[in-house]
């Protein structure tokens, strides 16, 4: 038995399932860091100004019916005609806007456990606590559904506030827009938390014509100089320590 297979089996056992299944993002560097791709049957978290944009790309890759659960008080909402413009299929979205976080979470448990959805987008106005996130993870773990928690914070670009939070999600991504023109959008991806490896940075580009993701630059941890990079430096330091 090769080491890789053994690793896979350990991961599957950790998650309480017989077999690990992943959604490759199609970019070798990122998929390697995640040991193959985003785990299905798991909850992932997205923060930052472009969280919704990146989550929408993952939804497109996953396909199937997407449940979009959001707190009705959140003013920013996915705009279906633009989803079509970004290459997604708005007709596959089923939305459920609820006033109350408790209702939202009970809906989320129901949807995550139902094995009917490809992705479940859960938009919350403030980060979930560890117990809430853990419950979501338990609900989803027997399925091939991808749980995506979006906690988009348009007012901040820093990741500092995220560092203290140790949710029960498998990964946490901080996504922001670096540059934008009519042909492409450049995103800064910071994988702030990664159960399958170490935190990483990438700069990726979305081609507006094809809606494909390309790697623009790898800023892996070895090339990163914490003194120069305020962005995520603290996390990296703590990782090395």
């Amino acid at each position: 038995m090769s080491l890789d297979t053994l690793k896979e089996q350990i991961i599957a056992l950790e998650m309480g399932r017989s077999e690990r299944r992943v959604l490759p993002l199609g970019l070798l560097a990122i998929d390697d860091a995640l040991q193959g791709g985003l785990d299905l049957g798991a909850v992932h978290e997205f923060t930052g100004t472009a969280a919704a944009l990146f989550a929408q790309l993952i939804v497109q890759r996953r396909g199937g019916t997407t449940f979009w659960l959001a707190n009705a008080r959140i003013n920013e909402q996915y705009y279906p005609p633009a989803l079509a413009q970004y290459g997604a299929k708005p007709e596959d979205f089923i939305s459920l806007f609820l006033q109350n976080t408790q209702d939202l979470l009970s809906a989320a448990y129901e949807v995550l456990a139902a094995k009917a959805a490809g992705c479940v987008l859960i938009e919350v106005s403030r980060p979930l606590n560890q117990i809430q996130a853990r419950k979501l993870q338990i609900a989803v773990q027997d399925t091939n559904t991808l749980g995506l928690i979006i906690n988009a914070d348009y007012a901040r670009n820093s990741v500092q506030a995220d560092e203290g939070l140790l949710g029960s999600t498998l990964t946490r991504w901080h996504v922001s827009v670096l540059d934008w023109n009519s042909k492409r959008t450049q995103l800064k991806l910071y994988l702030a938390k990664n159960r399958r490896g170490s935190p990483r940075h990438w700069i990726v580009e979305i081609d507006h014509a094809t809606h494909h993701l390309h790697l623009a630059a790898i800023s892996g941890e070895r090339t990163l100089n914490p003194a120069q990079q305020g962005f995520g430096a603290q996390a990296l330091r703590s990782h090395h320590a």
């Binding site: 705009y79 413009q85 970004y86 129901e110 922001s176």
Partner: protein, 469 residues
């Protein structure tokens, strides 16, 4: 009623009838005689519908109800009258209720359909004719009460045979030559000597299952078990009819005469007992059985044919998946209210917030293709546009800094403007400020904003309407 350029009356009020007018007279004649007569266009469709409704109402007295020609309803009350306190009380009840509805009605009760008709039209109102008195009471009825053909009736009149009695006295052999076999048949039918076919209205099968409990159910578990039994019965009946439940309602009658009501809705008709049970049992969390439930009624309010789904050879997973999805939509719709579980469909409008519509996921419609708007649209639209300038600032040109999410940020222009005009035919409160010019800008902390400017005479305002990320 119109007929070949002539208007004639099809029905008259009692007063008009008393004045000597009869249906079938031309309107012009009547108006000449009584110029202040009120008249309305006849609406046979509406009349028929009204009669149909009355027929349904009448089925509360007996399941065997039928519509005759014209404005006649027949009720076969054999074996039903004692439930309403006897024949006479029943007649009064029917009369009173019809009067309360605003109808003028005449009732006749007899052993044969023809006799009932005859007495209702030409006898005393509410006449209740028993079989042994029929011969006597029918003596003085006019021959019209027999509903013979017009020719036969007119013929009898001409011969001076004005009453049924007069006809009965004649020997049958000669009578057949006079009024025809048809007239003879009517006469026999009147006295119940010959059968008359009645086509009773067919009732839609009422999909109701109920159960009385001599010992009231005191626990939720008991209610659930009883509901399972009711569902089992209902689903069995439905499966025979090839129908599935779309809407169902459950009534729980408590010992203290309080009724608790639950209803469920389904995205696709179903006879899956466990699925229906699960939808109901979700409501049981809030159920208070009080001193116990003594009666349960389960109604399938709306049903639809079950579509047998084609199962591909290697396609079992996707089929199964569709069922899981339907089940999930059902559960969510029943947990939170079906109005909250929505799908999106494209709408034809250039106004950004009108370019899509929401529909209930519980009531799916055919998917339509999305037309890509001309300009770049924001991935995220703000439900309420946010003003980005401090109150007293008025900026005709694009501001360099805006105020958003409690902080100031510098912005740089990316593209624009795109001009969007409001719909002039619609008074939308959000668009009363008139034309908007939209720009894409980028803030210094990496957010893409869709800004618009509205100008009126006094001032120019800037708002954020969407986000590119």
């Amino acid at each position: 009623m119109h007929e070949a350029n002539r208007m004639f009356v099809s029905a008259l009020s009692r007063n008009a009838g008393n004045m000597g007018f009869t249906p079938g007279m031309s309107l012009a004649d009547i108006r000449a005689a009584a110029p202040d007569m009120l008249y309305y266009d006849a609406n046979p469709m509406k009349d028929a519908k009204c009669l149909r409704n009355l027929l349904r109402w009448a089925s509360r007295f007996t399941p065997r109800v039928a519509r005759g020609d014209g404005q006649n309803l027949y009720l076969d009350i054999a074996g039903a009258s004692h439930l309403f306190g006897g024949v006479q009380t029943l007649l009064e009840t029917i009369q009173n209720q019809l009067t309360a509805f605003g109808f003028t009605a005449r009732l006749g009760l007899a052993d044969s359909k023809a006799a009932a008709w005859g007495f209702a039209h030409y006898g005393k109102n509410q006449s209740n004719i028993r079989a042994d008195t029929l011969q006597d009471t029918a003596k003085n009825l006019p021959v019209e009460a027999l509903q013979m053909s017009h020719a036969s009736t007119a013929f009898c009149r001409r011969l001076g045979l004005k009453t049924i009695e007069a006809l009965r006295k004649l020997p049958r052999a000669t009578l057949a030559n006079r009024i025809g076999l048809d007239g003879l048949k009517r006469l026999d039918q009147f006295f119940g000597e010959q059968a008359e076919v009645t086509k009773f209205a067919r009732h839609k099968e009422r999909l109701i299952e109920e159960q009385q409990f001599p010992d009231p159910l005191a626990t939720n578990a008991g209610v659930e078990a009883a509901l399972e039994a009711l569902l089992e019965r209902l689903c069995q009946r439905l499966s025979v009819l090839q129908q599935g439940v779309r809407n169902a309602r459950l009534l729980l009658e408590r010992v203290d005469h309080d009724t608790i009501e639950f209803s469920i809705q389904l995205v696709r008709p179903s006879i899956n007992k466990l699925m229906l049970l699960r939808l109901f049992s979700h409501h049981f969390e809030t159920l208070d059985v009080g001193f116990g439930i003594e009666r349960m009624v389960l109604m399938a309010e709306q049903t639809a044919p079950i579509s047998a789904r084609q199962m591909g050879l290697n396609d079992t997973t996707s089929n199964n998946h569709g069922e899981l999805l339907d089940g999930l939509i059902n559960r969510l719709s029943n947990m939170f209210g079906h109005q909250y579980v929505q799908r999106f469909s494209p709408a034809d409008s250039h106004i950004p917030e009108r370019a899509f519509s929401r529909e209930f996921a519980l009531y799916p419609s055919a998917p339509q293709s999305w037309i890509t708007p001309f300009g770049k649209r924001p991935l995220r639209l703000l439900k309420k546009p946010v003003s980005v300038l401090l109150n007293d600032k008025i900026e005709p040109n694009m501001p360099e800094t805006i105020f958003w999410h409690n902080r100031e940020c510098h912005i740089s222009l990316l593209s624009g403007p795109e001009r969007i005009e409001p719909d002039w035919w619609r008074d939308d409160p959000d668009w009363r400020n008139g034309t908007r010019d939209y720009w894409w800008v980028k803030t210094d902390f990496g957010a893409l904003l869709w800004l618009y400017r509205v100008c009126d005479q006094q001032k120019t305002q800037w708002f954020i309407h969407g986000l590119g990320s």
